[in-house]
């Protein structure tokens, strides 16, 4: 059944698909084909899935149209209008034209998506490697990769979706950017206003927008309105303040009022003294009259700036959108004063709640593991060896003799006899008993390329395994399906990746070594497969659900 919300843009009867005759529907988002007497589509392609369309060349007996999809497959429709080939061609052209119209719209969407993915892969080499290993080798499908495995991408996408889009602001020089064009015949100057410029003007001068809404359709034409606007003193009031009334005089007044209102409502900070910001007249500058004019011009300028700032602030409050944009009420004066007087970093930070370490075995904590062994219980075996036999007095005399052994009584032979020295030298020379290190590990001899490949295998396998085990316990049919999918992927991985790599390893070294190197990988693989088969024995799994996907 086609959903009722879809509008049918074109219906072409007498279209053959694989020897069956039916009707071709072109809807707003997809095309579909159904056998005449049915009520559901046998074939349906979304426009966004379609890469291109192809038509059979002129003069061929069959009039055909082929749509090629992004996944490489294609569907060919043959137009078999009984009225003859001319009609068939007409039918086909209708479809072709409409498709030509529709496809670019959806193509942009697809391209954007593709580009995003491409960008993501180029920015994240580990995911690119994973993509190459898992998708290119058909271990898992591309959709699965993007939806399940590229978690970071999904997160990124959601973030961009969630992020509220910010309005593009108005260029500061938008009025200056309107370039006057000299009009040849009238000697006047022409301005070209685009709708963008108008929108900018409206946003800068909200009162002008109101005026425009009021006047334009009924009182004057668009052109007149803008002419008046540009010549009005409202726009130029900074330059010339005394002028006769014109259309925009009340705009100025209105602005003034809005400004005043904003001033009273927005600033309710008891500690803020705006009068302190007053410009102090510079007495040394020029004649008094000159200074006054300057002052008025300055004030106007400042007023304009202030108005502009208020508009900017309002715009930013609006942009906050969903979040409550209410300005929080200014805190009471006392609190504000308190705030100004106290400094957080000068306060003692006693308030930090500390958790007391509740040690019930302090010696264990201080000394580490073996302290609970009674130290006399043979930790130190010094005394237990032959030394025990020596008599303290003998020891004392030996020691005493040694203490007095320096100086004249020094006997060089007490230090080293030449025979011992030669023996030691033998031990320390190459081949000597002390020079034999631990046996080198055979795995070290892998070439860097094979090593890199091995690492990639590990990454890919653990990615699939991660998803396999994440589905445990498979309590829902979806989870069961997921384990099935992952097991399929594991089998594919074994065939497409592990086995070829093993061959390479065997060529590079020996088969036993290859087995050694791959043992952990195979172990992981087998563990998952064993678990899965146990599961399927206990409860027959709906394998069909997988194959139909």
């Amino acid at each position: 059944m086609t959903s009722s919300s879809e509008s049918i843009l074109l219906l072409v009867p007498h279209v053959k698909l694989k020897k069956n005759e039916g009707e071709l529907y072109l809807m707003s988002e997809r095309l579909g084909w159904m056998v005449g007497n049915k009520d559901s589509f046998n074939v349906s392609h979304k426009y966004s899935d379609i890469k291109t369309q192809k038509i059979s060349p002129e003069g061929k007996p069959k009039v055909q149209l082929q749509v090629c999809l992004h996944d490489g497959s294609a569907t060919t429709f043959q137009f078999v209008n009984p009225s003859g080939q001319a009609e068939q061609m007409a039918d086909r052209d209708k479809v072709k034209d409409l498709l030509q119209l529709m496809l670019p719209k959806f193509k942009r969407m697809v391209n954007k998506d593709l580009e995003e993915k491409k960008l993501f892969l180029s920015e994240n080499p580990q995911y690119r490697q994973l993509y190459m290993d898992l998708v290119k080798s058909n271990v898992i499908s591309a959709e699965e990769f993007w939806s399940d495995h590229a978690t970071q991408f999904i997160k990124q996408q959601q973030e961009t979706k969630n992020a509220t889009q910010q309005d593009v602001g108005i260029s500061a020089s938008f009025l200056a950017d309107i370039k006057p064009q000299t009009d040849g015949c009238n000697g006047g100057v022409r301005y070209l206003l685009t709708s963008d410029v108008m929108a900018s003007i409206f946003r800068t001068y909200p009162s002008v927008k109101q005026k425009h809404l009021k006047c334009v359709p009924n009182k004057m034409t668009e052109e007149e309105f803008w002419k008046k606007f540009f010549s009005s003193h409202y726009l130029h009031r900074d330059k010339n303040i005394n002028d006769t009334k014109d259309l925009f005089t009340d705009c100025g007044k209105q602005d003034e009022q809005v400004l005043k209102q904003d001033l009273t409502t927005a600033i309710n900070d008891p500690l803020l003294d705006l009068t302190a910001l007053n410009d102090i007249e510079d007495e040394t500058s020029g004649t008094p009259s000159n200074a006054k004019i300057n002052n008025i011009a300055h004030q106007n300028m400042i007023r304009r700036f202030n108005q502009h700032s208020i508009l900017v602030l309002k715009a930013s409050e609006q942009a906050a959108g969903a979040e409550p944009a209410t300005v929080e009420a200014a805190p009471p004066k006392r609190m504000r004063l308190q705030e100004a007087l106290t400094y957080d970093d000068l306060e003692s930070n006693e308030s930090n709640p500390t958790v007391q370490l509740n040690l019930c075995r302090i010696e264990r904590y201080l000394n580490g593991p073996p302290t609970t062994v009674p130290s006399h219980a043979g930790v130190n075996k010094n005394g237990s060896s032959t030394g025990q036999a020596i008599d303290p007095n003998t020891f004392k005399s030996i020691l005493g003799r040694w203490m007095r052994g320096g100086g004249d009584r020094y006997n060089p032979l007490d230090v080293l006899s030449s025979a011992t020295a030669v023996t030691v030298l033998g031990e320390l020379s190459i081949g000597g008993s002390l020079m034999r290190g631990p046996q080198p590990n055979s795995a070290i001899h892998l070439t860097s390329e094979l090593q890199k490949e091995l690492k990639e295998l590990y990454v890919s396998l653990s990615e699939i395994l991660k998803h396999f085990w994440a589905a445990f316990p498979p309590s829902t049919p979806e989870l069961v399906q997921k384990t099935n999918r992952m097991i399929d992927a594991l089998h594919k991985f074994n065939q497409a990746k592990l086995t070829p790599y093993e061959q390479k390893l065997i060529q590079a070294s020996t088969s036993s070594e290859a087995e050694n190197i791959l043992r952990p990988l195979r172990f992981q693989l087998q563990a998952a497969i064993r678990k899965h088969s146990q599961l399927s024995e206990r409860r027959p799994l709906p394998r069909t659900a997988v194959s139909s996907m």
Binding site: S385, P392, L399, G406, D408, V415, V424, L428
Partner: protein, 299 residues
């Protein structure tokens, strides 16, 4: 760059002597003397050999037993004892000889009167810590034209000092931070802890098969400074066992459970750390006893 080349390298070797097995070695006769004499004489000879290598070289010798640690050289006694040099002997060598003989002998004799030196472990960790402190001081006092290349040489014959596990580890990591190399020459016994220390600080660990040839081993393996060791063929590094012992059964474990609060190591999972009473909340509410609710507030 230039002044770096001009800085004079000063190599400081701090020898840490473990004196606890002295009795054991004293009972082994050797060429009319005893093994103990041989070892101590070898150490003096090695110290002097180091001093002889370059006039800027510095030496420190610290000895320890189970009761105390003691600076043998430079002597901390203050009043320098009179010493006797053999005809033609370099003054400093004679001083080293005399100081070590006197200091070490005194240390052992003092311990002997207490009479139970073998009952507990030697304070090797403390002695190494003192060596590091000394190195630190020398480093600070050294003029800028000199560059200190410090290392510690531990000569020991006792088993792993279990009581001082933490001290050892602290010493090792401090040394690593201070760029002090720890070398170790073990007689008779092997020490897993010191192996780790040498590995951590990039030093040489050697378990010598015959104590009688100690001096030869010392001169051959430990006299060359760490910087030139890469150029000579030395015994290959031993495979260091970094496994930790669990706190509950003192078994070495490959993979264990570590308390996230006090870092105690356990070989089996339990719901409460027996060292600090922290309860571990895993996703198994059924097992947690009802008592835990009271404690939950503390955490």
């Amino acid at each position: 760059m230039e002044d770096k080349e001009e800085r004079i390298e000063t190599s400081l070797v701090a020898i840490v002597i473990d004196a606890t097995p002295a009795k054991k070695f004293a009972s082994q006769p050797l060429d009319g003397s005893s093994m103990m004499n041989r070892i101590f004489d070898s150490l003096i000879a090695f110290g002097n050999a180091h001093l002889m290598q370059a006039s800027h070289n510095k030496l420190a010798i610290i000895a320890c037993n189970s009761k105390s640690t003691k600076f043998l050289y430079p002597s901390m006694d203050g009043n320098s004892r009179s010493y006797q040099n053999r005809p033609g002997q370099y003054d400093m060598f004679a001083k080293v000889d005399s100081d070590v003989r006197h200091g070490l002998g005194e240390l052992i004799l003092n311990d002997l009167t207490d009479n139970d030196s073998t009952k507990s472990d030697s304070l090797l960790g403390g002695a190494m810590a003192r060596a590091l402190c000394y190195i630190h001081r020398v480093q600070r006092e050294l003029s800028l034209s000199h560059q200190l290349k410090p290392r510690v040489l531990v000569v020991s014959g006792s088993c792993d000092s279990a009581l001082q596990y933490m001290t050892f580890m602290n010493v090792f990591f401090t040394a690593q931070k201070e760029n002090v190399v720890i070398d170790c020459c073990m007689m008779d016994t092997d020490s897993g802890l010191l192996q780790q220390g040498c590995d951590i600080t990039g030093g040489q660990y050697l378990h010598i098969p015959s104590v009688a040839g100690l001096l030869e081993y010392l001169l051959w393996v430990f006299l060359p400074s760490p910087s030139c060791r890469s150029k000579i063929v030395l015994p290959p590094p031993t495979k260091v066992d970094y496994r930790a012992a669990c706190f509950c059964h003192h078994k070495l474990v490959d993979i264990g459970w570590v308390c996230s609060v006090c870092l105690s190591i356990f070989c089996k999972f339990s719901i409460m750390c027996t060292t600090c009473n922290t309860e571990f909340k895993l996703n198994r509410p059924a097992i947690v006893p009802a008592k835990s609710k009271k404690r939950a507030r503390i955490e």
